[in-house]
């Protein structure tokens, strides 16, 4: 197991290197940079040419992209993510607390998604073909089809403007977490619900379930103690993908709700062409995604003794 983990960790290095390389290629194809974005639109850019050149030189933006890439990889290897051209502050100061906020939002959304997805999935499987099944699956379909952006604004209108239960402006506290976590969680609950339903239906029809039912065990015992743990394995398989979806979804949701995460910053940084921030966010997100998948693989082996890592 230790050797497996070490090998998987070692494999993340070429993955991250590749991601960085592609990011730099994209950057090279974009015909502008943060310095120009800062100055463009101040009508006197002719007079500003000297300052533009000085800032470009300071941040190595006057060098070819492959040279910048080499310098950047060297800096990252030393744990230095660079300085934002726009704010002139270390990137780590810009994204550190935001990374934690994104993780909080992702976890909260995952909890919502699991609670809603599992309970509706189990209910629809248990009462398969009844109105409960129809309603639960209908809501699931709505969740899959609804754009996060639109759903978020609807929730703001309903809970904040109409009912006045929650503030519109996000102070970054637990109250500000509720609506974005609900939006993201309810949308991601849909696939969990459908997969739970399918695997529960399969498990509930197996012989061992019939056997324990025949023994006269209570239904709650049959469903939660015997059928559910087996059905959960398939949820665990897609958990990595789901968390990836949550991390990606957070980018949009953070903008709508003003949740100060890395997604909200990434969207802005792309507009500012502040590539030092964009690169750092891509790097941090990719690392997180790779690590989460590693943890899930290990969990999978632990949950199902038939699977061997190696």
């Amino acid at each position: 197991m230790t050797a497996y983990i070490a090998r998987r960790l070692a494999m993340t290095i070429p993955v991250l290197f590749g991601i960085l390389f592609v990011t730099f290629l994209m950057k090279a194809l974009i015909p502008t940079d943060a310095v120009l974005a800062l100055y463009s639109g101040t009508v006197s850019e002719d007079k500003a040419a000297e300052a533009i050149a000085a800032i470009r030189a300071k941040y190595d933006l006057d060098k070819p992209w492959y040279h910048q890439f080499v310098l950047y990889v060297g800096d990252v290897a030393r744990g230095d993510l660079g300085e934002s051209v726009r704010t002139r502050q270390p990137v780590i100061d810009e994204i550190g607390y935001r990374y934690v906020n994104t993780m909080i939002l992702t976890l909260a959304s995952l909890v919502v998604a699991l609670i809603v997805g599992l309970s509706t999935g189990i209910a629809s499987a248990y009462w398969k073909g009844t109105w409960i099944d129809e309603v639960a699956m209908g809501i699931g379909l709505l969740g899959i089809s609804m754009p996060a952006f639109f759903f978020g604004l609807i929730l703001i209108f309903f809970f904040s403007v109409q009912l006045r239960w929650l503030p519109v402006m996000n102070a970054g506290d637990w109250k500000g977490l509720i609506l974005p976590a609900l939006t993201l969680g309810l949308i991601e609950a849909a696939p969990i619900s459908r997969i739970t339903r399918a695997s529960m239906i399969e498990v509930l029809s197996q012989d061992y379930v019939k056997a324990i039912r025949a023994k006269g065990l209570p239904e709650s015992h049959v469903v939660f103690r015997h059928a559910l743990p087996n059905a959960l394995l398939s949820i665990l398989t897609i958990l990595g993908l789901l968390i990836g979806g949550l991390l990606g979804g957070a980018f949009i949701i953070e903008v709508v709700f003003g949740w100060r995460g890395i997604g909200e910053l990434a969207v802005k940084a792309i507009g500012w062409r502040d590539f030092t921030i964009t690169q750092a966010i891509i790097l941090v997100s990719a690392t997180t995604y790779v690590m989460i998948n590693l943890v899930i693989d290990i969990l999978y082996a632990w949950a199902d003794p038939r699977i061997k890592l190696g």
Binding site: L36, K47, A54, R88, M169, G172
Partner: protein, 522 residues
């Protein structure tokens, strides 16, 4: 790796800070910031967002009053040398920064020396024009020296970038100064939660008010101003409705909803200096021909654009300056402007050789049918709708145009390249020097045909310090630019702000900044 750890450990502190800092609502005004400013150190930024925040904290040597005339602020007066290349300011005595250190010539010199230092690469450097040095010449006098007379000097010195920081605070805070500027102003930065809000607290020791455009003679009426970062328009509007925001500027679509709502008053600032205008790539035919540019001018129905883009909260523009800028000459605009007249547009196109020779409804010349592109920036409904009106108007006279919009960061650099015909642009500025910035020489993107007559006039305007002579020069510049139809003016929009009805004294200065010390919460 230690750098990774620090910000993460700080999070509980942030969260605790947010909860502890929930201000007493009574004397707090909640306003909106569209995005986090990049820095609050005016040497490091020149963005509208940052300037709007820094303006609460830093004061300048001069301000521009509502009539557009420079007036003393932190200075008590000035003299201009005979050759007009030196301005000597006398500073007011007895003022202190909010960190307790004295406001003196050393502070003024320190600020401008930092701006002038090429190694600092300050975005403010360009705004100070030919300023070469700033020196203290007496206990309370400072001399600004320019390499040539600089007419917009007072305007430049009234800008937020010329706000005086406490040099002691700058030195003590290092790079953290960008998060907590210290000035002599009516407000002090109390807290900046990045990406969430900036809280300004009243400076209770504020000196007497030296500005005549502000009613309140002393410290601000309100205790706190919280500037909340809200990116989304829809969210800002919802926050206004729930009362979480005390006031916010409205997008055209939202105005109707607030105008008749008794919980709000709408304040319309008609004196903002801005212009939406159509520019040409004069390096390519047929836009190298002034008749074609004039034809386009006559083809566009500005009133339709005002209604479509701004719901009527804008003014049709026919001159290269917006009407609120000192020096705007209505007589020249009336004489040389290009009002909506499709017949005249067609006649001018015909003069330039463009007619519908094959009867297909599209103008052509030498066998080539008209087909042009207009570039602009995405994300603004008002720009999209103005473009659509222009497209429809031009189609009406047989000139099909293709609209291409992209985000600002992609759009603006594309103008430096070839391969486009027209672009729709907008500037905001509060001084006639904007003409110089855009149109002098081959223009700010090298896409104008240099015109010696226009250059001479603009150069004269830029170096004429005497106010009456300068205004006369600005009038000449408008005449020359309209005769050449260097760009087609479309409209000047008004700023419409919805303010909760329990708030009074909400108003703006000449540059469009909020006069915050006058605000009262009932």
């Amino acid at each position: 790796m230690r750098r990774f750890v620090r910000p993460i450990l700080m999070v509980p502190v942030f969260v605790a800070g947010i909860t502890a800092a929930l201000p007493a609502m009574a004397q707090t005004v909640n306003l909106r910031l569209g995005e986090d400013p990049e820095s609050l150190y005016n040497v490091q930024t020149n963005s509208l967002t940052a300037n709007g925040v820094i303006n609460y904290v830093l004061e300048r040597l001069v301000y521009i009053d509502q009539s557009g005339t420079p007036q003393p602020w932190l200075s008590s007066g000035w003299t201009v040398s005979d050759d007009q290349t030196q301005i000597t300011f006398t500073l007011r005595e007895g003022l202190t920064f909010t960190d307790g250190t004295p406001f003196d010539p050393a502070a003024v010199v320190a600020h401008f020396n930092t701006v002038l230092d090429p190694a600092v690469a300050s975005p403010q450097l360009a705004t100070q024009g030919p300023l070469t040095s700033v020196e203290a010449t007496g206990p309370m006098t400072v001399v600004f020296t320019y390499s040539e007379p600089f007419a917009p000097a007072f305007n430049a010195l009234s800008g937020v970038g010329a706000g005086i920081n406490s040099p002691t605070a700058v030195a003590a805070a290092g790079s953290d100064y960008a998060r907590m500027p210290v000035g002599t102003g009516a407000f002090i930065v109390e807290q900046w939660i990045p990406g969430t809000s900036i809280t300004l607290v009243r400076n209770d020791d504020f000196h007497e008010q030296f500005r005549s455009d502000i009613q309140n003679p002393g410290p601000a009426h309100v205790e706190r101003i919280v500037l909340n970062v809200i990116t989304e328009e829809g969210v800002a509007q919802a926050a206004l409705e729930t009362g979480e925001l005390s006031a916010a500027a409205l997008q055209a679509d939202a105005i109707a909803q607030f105008v008749d709502n008794p919980d709000f008053q709408t304040i319309i600032n008609k004196s903002s200096g801005n212009l939406t205008f159509l520019e040409f790539n004069q390096q390519t035919a047929p836009f190298d021909d002034a008749r074609v540019r004039m034809a386009i001018g006559h083809a566009i129905d500005r009133d339709a654009a005002v209604m479509a883009a701004w719901d009527g909260y804008a003014q049709a523009a026919f001159g290269p300056l917006s009407a609120a800028i000192p020096g705007y000459d209505q007589a020249v605009v009336d004489e040389l402007g290009t009002p909506y007249d499709p017949e005249k547009a067609l006649a001018l196109f015909a003069e330039a050789g463009w007619t519908d020779s094959d009867g297909d409804g599209i103008l052509d010349k030498d066998g080539a049918a008209a087909s042009f592109t207009i570039l602009s920036y995405a994300g603004f409904t008002s720009i999209d709708r103005t473009l659509q009106v222009i497209q429809a108007n031009l189609a009406d006279i047989g000139v099909p145009v293709d609209l291409q919009t992209s985000d600002w960061g992609a759009f603006y650099p594309s103008l430096l390249e070839d391969g486009w015909d027209m672009d729709l642009m907008r500037w905001t500025w509060d001084d006639a020097d904007v003409l110089n910035q855009i149109y002098a020489g081959d223009g700010h993107r090298d896409k104008l045909t240099p015109n010696a007559d226009i250059d001479n006039i603009l150069n004269r305007c830029s170096t004429t310090m005497e106010p009456a002579a300068r205004l006369s020069c600005v009038s000449d510049a408008q005449r020359a630019l309209l005769e050449n139809m260097t760009a087609v003016p479309i409209l000047t929009n008004w700023e419409v702000v919805a303010v909760q009805s329990n708030i009074s004294g909400y108003g703006f200065d000449h540059a469009g900044y909020l006069l915050a010390t006058d605000i009262k919460v009932e």
